[in-house]
Symmetry: C2
Subunit: 183 residues, 2 copies
Amino acid sequence: MNKVLDVIKSRRSIRRYLPDPLGQEELDAILEAGAYAPSAHNDQPWHFTVIRNRELIDRISRVSKERMAAQDTGWIREMGRKEDFHLFYHAPAVVVVSMRRDALSPLVDCSAAIENMLLAAESLDVGSCWIGLAGYWFSLRDEVARLGLPEGYEPCYAVALGRKGHRPSRALPRKAPPPSFID
Amino acid sequence: MNKVLDVIKSRRSIRRYLPDPLGQEELDAILEAGAYAPSAHNDQPWHFTVIRNRELIDRISRVSKERMAAQDTGWIREMGRKEDFHLFYHAPAVVVVSMRRDALSPLVDCSAAIENMLLAAESLDVGSCWIGLAGYWFSLRDEVARLGLPEGYEPCYAVALGRKGHRPSRALPRKAPPPSFID
């Protein structure tokens, strides 16, 4: 079978990680895959910060959860209040993806870069999870200063990476309406 | 070499297509790849319309160009006025990607789905190009009615697909700032 189609279909969000660190080579391959995403006007408006510092990873989780616990939306509030919930599922590495504010479509381009990283990870049997809820931490200017981002960039998403601590079955059948054809 | 990393790095936007139609099987594989993207809250908020009708493809190009030709931004205006420019580079198939408006982050999810489709296409040696400028046509309500979209969806991007009419060299070295590490 076509390996690319297979990896696309077998990738799942991983929500349990082994504590083992990733090798530098596989991490570099994943980051490089992100950088080869297409982008509007070839802006390549992304920057990646790899956090392997356990204290900072745990801090982002803790601070995000405090803010989530105060939200109106029920499922977000409940996750924030759940004691054993960790925003990155204790992954040993977290990639913060930041976008260049003045680019043409930075959020969309960063999304393509993230998908490349998730697929690259899966191809190396590295587990990954796209974390949108880190946005609760990203909106705190004093906290984000810890990342030392280049001028003009701001964080939009995070990706948890690590050895898989579980092996979910293949994805369920898709639920979106089927494609239509105009011939 | 890892086939997935290779395809991620060798994919380029294709801007010249052979007139040959794509096989239904490869088209179905590409659409299926799109549907296996991750999405916030597992919304899967996308819908794909495959246009193989030459008249409609040309119409979207023509109408978009008329609107582009009236824009203030220089490079968009010039593309709109360029007689031999075709918005989809005369590709034999165009996938319109539509997003479900009430989802959590539909544009970001659709971007991941598009990146999956581009990589699936490349893995089959099918050429592709992500077309943002189709947005000039998408904003015309009467025109979009021709797509017969399901209720609650609106188009956000298009993807040109077809046999490659040129073979660009590998992508140039990346220009974004290199990753940083916090250990």
